[in-house]
């Protein structure tokens, strides 16, 4: 059996698998109109080997949402609440925009149907479901050519009776039906409805896509990556596709977590810098989860890996604004026209600045596969220097400083603002541009160490191979935090029974299942919840401590309440082992040196050796300044930094030596 990780990206679909104990990579151009084509092409190339066992991160759901190209979906709500998804939270995202427009709802008014029925907040029925009217709606939906239906009634998480009845009636239509209490059993109707609607909206597309891939693979096993950092069976992914949004970035964080752990680092800040955006996340001995994500401004409240994204990357455009500040991004030159040095672009970007500073080497950019045009950037830098009354070098370094400041802010959001000191973490850099900026960024944040893994350009696919099977469950309970432990046991019991049953169905053996309990807690009357791991001990004490860490104080005399209970069921999967080499004291082999070139550090050119990353042996040490090049990435060691290749081939960089 060969385990294959497949990650559909914007430009390439990446495949990674192990052969002869080493990683093998294959890249196919992504086929946006039908992404299955690229997946099938790659698998075709690989399956010459053994029967593949595939873990796949797909962008089908994400793209359907971003491009507003999902199914013709209907929504059933209580009568009088059909517009909840349109009103949202009634606020606007831009404060000073007289021409403000919100994202239109995924389901327009004419396909939103209200039915008389109502529960109160304890789950008591105030008004029965009007079955005749419901039957009529089902017939209307049948006749209107609807492809998918979402049902969301108030307080269905307290009493799902009416949603279940509706689900049964809709069942005969043979189209996907998403019931809100099954997708997200939590209070706050807009967020729950939005999550359910997204699920319904992408379900037919995902189902069609996965069937195509499955047909090709015959009966070979396929698992799908989720945004919570775990994988899931195809069957579950078809039923709950909302859980597959943003699975690519989640794969990257899982990859960082596993590789970091193997290398001995379990506190990481991940830094994935690409062409148009940068993702950062903080790992404190466990995968970080958030319950507050959104996509295209539609809230998604299923647990996701907590990734903070900023619109700044290698393609971000630099300009002097009308007030006299040097701005970088959020506009991006993308890949077309791309930075000026790609040949077609017209506006200076971060990539152009790195080239100007000597930090990108034309001969080694994508192994020399892509030609860079250093000659085209000198005139634009000259112009901007005149505009800003700075030297050209100052402009180029300035562009990098401004973009680094944006990255620094992103990292502060996930660390300092949550009570963590970045100095206690390792910066885990990947993505095309991560290594170019990582050490400079680490210095800004007093981070002592940077780790750049092998194959930093395809970490997401690696992460997918390393991911466990994970299912998340939750339920709003709204009860006192000091309730007795017996009550907590009772609340979790039905969730745990369901979880074990589900993981069994996923093919996970009982002794590989672990169940992790969490409580969403808050002070009574507060309206923001903190996720508290419940490990049998005193959850109230744990809550006070977490509150103090995050916000600097706690009030032990105040009553607490448990808003939601959460269960994370993990089925530990078979994983490829990371190959470990022997550390040697041998000096760097001659063949690694590819010559010297002048590179700007702090305002002046310094002659800097270029070193090939492929040739490094575990244990090799390199003193900055140096530039390490490999196929898909470049890593800069400024003066004062030093790197060593560890037993796994990772580059461990000391930010400051001496």
């Amino acid at each position: 059996m060969v385990l294959v990780g497949v990650d559909t990206g914007g430009t390439f679909t990446d495949f990674i698998f192990q052969e002869d104990g080493g990683w093998r990579i294959c890249k196919c151009l992504t086929t946006p109109s039908n992404p299955a084509l690229a997946v099938l092409e790659g698998l075709g190339r690989i399956s010459a080997a053994d029967k593949p066992h595939v873990v796949h991160g797909s962008t089908v759901a994400t793209n359907a949402l971003l491009e507003h190209k999902g199914a013709r979906t209907a929504l059933i709500t209580n009568q009088g609440f059909e517009d909840v998804i349109e009103i949202g939270r009634q606020n606007r995202h831009a404060l000073y925009d007289l021409h403000y427009h919100r994202m239109p709802p995924l389901i327009p008014a004419q396909r939103r149907f209200g039915l008389r029925c109502r529960m109160d907040c304890t789950g008591r029925i105030l008004e029965d479901l009007d079955l005749d009217a419901a039957e009529k709606r089902v017939r209307e939906i049948e006749q209107a050519g609807i492809e998918s239906v979402a049902v969301s009634f108030l307080f269905s998480f307290k009493n799902p009776g009416h949603e279940r009845m509706m689900g049964q009636m809709l069942g005969r239509l043979g189209i996907p039906v998403s019931l809100s209490h099954e997708i997200l059993s939590e209070f706050r109707e807009y967020e729950r409805t939005s999550t359910t609607v997204i699920n319904a909206y992408v379900a037919p597309k995902i189902q069609g896509y996965l069937r195509t891939v499955l047909d090709f693979m015959k009966d070979a096993p396929l698992r799908i990556m989720q945004s919570n950092g775990g994988s899931i069976s195809v069957r579950t992914a078809m039923r709950e596709p909302v859980r597959t949004i943003f699975s690519g970035p989640a794969g990257g964080v899982v990859g960082a977590y596993e590789i970091g752990r193997a290398a001995g680092f379990n506190r990481l800040i991940t830094f994935d810098m690409g062409g148009t955006s940068t993702d950062v996340a903080l790992i404190d001995d466990r995968l970080p989860l958030t319950l507050e994500s959104s996509i295209a401004r539609h809230p998604v409240r299923v647990p996701m890996i907590d990734i903070h994204t900023v619109g700044a990357g290698g393609g971000s455009i630099a300009r002097l604004d009308s007030g006299g500040a040097l701005r970088v991004g959020p506009q991006s030159a993308g890949s077309d026209p791309g930075p000026i040095c790609y040949g077609k672009g017209g506006q200076l970007t971060v990539t152009d600045a790195n080239l100007f500073l000597g930090r990108l080497i034309p001969d080694h950019f994508l192994g020399g596969d892509m030609r860079l045009h250093p000659d085209k950037i000198s005139a634009p830098f000259g112009q901007m220097a005149a505009q800003t009354r700075l030297s050209e070098i100052q402009v180029a370094e300035g562009i990098v400083q401004v973009v680094n400041a944006a990255m620094e802010r992103a990292i502060r959001v996930v660390s300092v603002e949550k009570g963590f000191d970045p100095a206690e973490f390792t910066l885990f850099a990947f993505g095309g541009a991560g290594g170019l900026h990582a050490v400079f960024l680490a210095r800004l944040l007093n981070i002592p160490r940077v780790l750049v893994p092998v194959n930093p350009g395809i970490l997401s696919a690696i992460g997918m191979l390393l991911a466990d099977v994970v299912k998340d469950y939750s339920l709003t309970v709204m009860t006192s935090g000091s309730c007795d432990p017996q009550r907590i046991e009772e609340m979790f019991a039905p969730l745990e029974t369901e979880a074990v049953k589900d993981l069994f169905a996923e093919g996970i053996h009982r002794n590989r299942i672990s169940l992790k309990r969490y409580l969403d807690m808050r002070y009574e009357g507060q309206s923001y919840e903190i996720l508290v791991p419940a490990r049998g001990d005193d959850p109230v004490a744990a809550f006070h401590e977490l509150h103090r860490r995050a916000y600097g104080y706690c009030s032990v005399q105040k009553n607490t309440e448990i808003v939601n209970i959460r269960l994370r069921a993990v089925g530990v999967s078979e994983k490829p082992e990371l190959k470990k080499g022997e550390l040697s004291n041998e000096p760097l082999c001659e063949a690694c040196f590819l010559g010297n070139r002048p590179v700007v550090f702090e305002g002046r050119f310094i002659s800097t050796p270029i070193i090939s990353r492929q040739g490094l042996c575990p244990g090799n040490r390199i003193q900055g300044p140096a530039i390490l090049v490999e196929y898909s990435a470049t890593t800069i060691l400024p003066p004062g930094a030093a790197a060593q290749a560890d037993a796994f081939g990772n580059l461990l960089i000391e930010t400051w030596t001496g």
């Binding site: 009088g80 009103i87 007289l98 009308s322 400041a405 309206s527 923001y528 916000y551 600097g552």
Partner: protein
């Protein structure tokens, strides 16, 4: 000083990050749904003279008034660890529920080097009706007036003062929780300021704070310069004050001369008995909001934006109220009309940019009583969105808060957990936007059934005449307030206060936005 464009950009982001992080802390540690769910608060940072350096984009009505709070607080001498609370509308406040907490940032010197401040709308500060948004005829009926007072002294809460305050409000536990959240937000701001100074040094930090004010000033001057020179006038009315005064005029004359603007409110009515009087800080906020809308969205909002704009108003008028006028509604209702009037004046010269009137009210609703489930008193306050005005190339957005506010709704399920109500309808009010070549946005219908007896206060506007349309289009539909008791539907005026019984239903229909341009069939 030579301003480096790179450092200017870096400081711009660092300063706004401080204000934004204060907001994150306030939001997450607050107790009341009013702050966490509705986000009715603002955070900002100031230089040693009280000039605002950065404000997190929260609530526009706090824009011009926060600096006045800080200046009022600065009259008290500070020591390290002090914080000053205030809500007095005649000394830097806006209306009593908005409590501002100001803290100095001490570095090495004996005087504060910077200030941080935040303002949050508390759901009750005492006074004649629950929710402290009463139909009052004097400030004394509206709640407890807090002049600038040292509530925290050298890091210690003044327990006596706090006890006094909490004894005068209906929901003391929630108030105390929100207060501590406000203090935490300021402490976070102070800590981040120190980090910043540690990295760049005080002198550079101070210089770039100043450079940023100049930067915003330049952007504002460019925005004003794009308006043709001239004098433009517009008038509209507040419908009533709840005490018999009707059609209370607000008039603005905008004079543009190159890169400077003067906004004169001569011709506006004298202050009235009812609570819709606006203090001068509100008028300042409303005018600045309009001009700020002419700048790029990403430009930093700070004291520099205010420099090229002069405001003239006569003390004792409805746009510059004097003590002891009732002001609870000036902040939420009159501020919207001031925006309508200033935008109306500019519409003629910037027809492509200025839209028709948006709903022009915040539809305040406050309900108070004793929750039969817990036997504890409750105070609920909320505002409801409506239609936005259409523009030269677009229909107005529906069911959204506009102009001077941006608070969120309370989710129906959160509301029913917290209060003895049941929401029976929450929907878009179809067809309420003004028709035209481009139609105004629709308002909202929100209907609440009470599970127990309670007192209800509604403070709203645009109930007789809808928000104006432009260039031949129709106005939006006016809003409607009704009470439904045992199937009988009774209309209520724009402002009313009454005791209701269990099972009574309050139905609020909010105004649609004005349309833009004549419909093709009319031409």
């Amino acid at each position: 000083m030579d301003v480096n464009p790179v450092l200017l950009e870096i400081f711009k982001n660092r300063f706004s990050a401080i204000a934004e992080e204060m907001g994150v802390v306030l939001n997450r540690t607050a107790f009341s749904p009013n702050i966490k769910e509705r986000r009715d608060y603002s955070c900002a940072i100031f230089d040693a003279r009280g000039n605002m350096i950065a404000q997190a984009a929260h609530i526009p009505v706090h824009l011009g008034s926060m600096p006045m709070s800080v200046r009022a607080a600065m009259e008290i001498s500070f020591s390290e660890g002090d914080m000053i609370a205030l809500n007095d509308p005649f000394r830097g406040g806006t209306h009593l529920p908005d409590i501002t907490l100001v803290a100095p940032v001490f570095l090495d010197g004996e005087k504060p080097a910077f200030y941080v401040a935040n303002r949050a709308h508390h759901a009750d500060v005492g006074g004649m009706s629950a929710g402290s948004m009463p139909l009052s005829s004097s400030i004394f009926q509206e709640g407890l007036i807090i002049p600038p007072l040292k509530i925290i002294s050298r890091g210690r809460i003044d327990a006596g003062l706090m006890k006094f305050f909490l004894s005068n409000v209906r929901t003391p536990v929630e108030r105390e929780g929100d207060f501590s959240a406000q203090a935490m937000a300021n402490l976070t701001g102070i800590r981040r300021f120190r980090d910043l100074v540690q990295r760049y040094g005080f002198e550079i930090t101070r210089q770039y704070a100043e450079a940023l004010l100049d930067y915003s000033e330049r952007m504002m001057r460019q925005a004003i310069e794009s308006i043709p020179d001239g004098t433009y006038r517009f008038a509209d009315v507040m419908e009533d004050d709840g005490f018999g005064a009707e059609d209370i005029c607000i008039q603005a004359t905008v004079q543009i001369e190159k890169d400077r603007a003067v906004v004169d409110f001569a011709g506006s009515a004298a202050q009235v008995a009812g609570c819709i009087n606006a203090v001068s800080s509100i008028t300042l906020s409303a005018v600045l909001y309009v001009f700020r809308c002419l700048m790029p969205e990403a430009a930093p909002t700070n004291a520099g934006c205010f420099r090229p704009v002069e405001i003239r108003s006569k003390p004792g008028t409805v746009v510059d109220a004097l003590f002891p006028a009732a002001v609870a509604g000036g902040n939420v209702e009159t501020s919207q009309r001031i925006v309508d009037v200033v935008l109306g004046a500019l519409a003629r010269v910037l027809p492509g940019h200025i839209p028709a009137a948006s709903q022009g009210t915040m539809n305040n609703i406050a309900i108070g009583g004793v929750d039969p489930r817990s036997n504890r008193p409750f105070a609920y306050y909320e505002t409801i969105g409506g239609g936005m005005g259409a523009g030269a190339f677009f229909h107005g957005e529906s069911a959204v808060h506009s102009h001077m506010t941006n608070t969120r709704n309370t989710p129906v399920e959160a509301l029913e957990y917290s209060y003895p109500f049941r929401v029976t309808q929450y929907s878009v009010r179809k067809g309420s936007g003004g028709s035209g070549l481009f139609c105004g946005g629709d308002g909202i219908i929100r209907e609440i059934r009470l599970d127990c007896d309670a007192e209800v206060t509604v403070l709203s506007e645009r109930r007789k005449r809808g928000p104006y349309g432009l260039y031949g289009a129709a106005a939006g539909k006016p809003g409607k307030n009704t009470i439904i008791r045992r199937g009988r539907i009774d209309a209520r005026p724009s402002k009313f206060h009454e005791r209701l019984q269990a099972d009574d239903v309050i139905r609020i229909e909010t105004p649609g936005g004005g349309g833009y341009g004549r419909e093709p069939s009319d031409v």
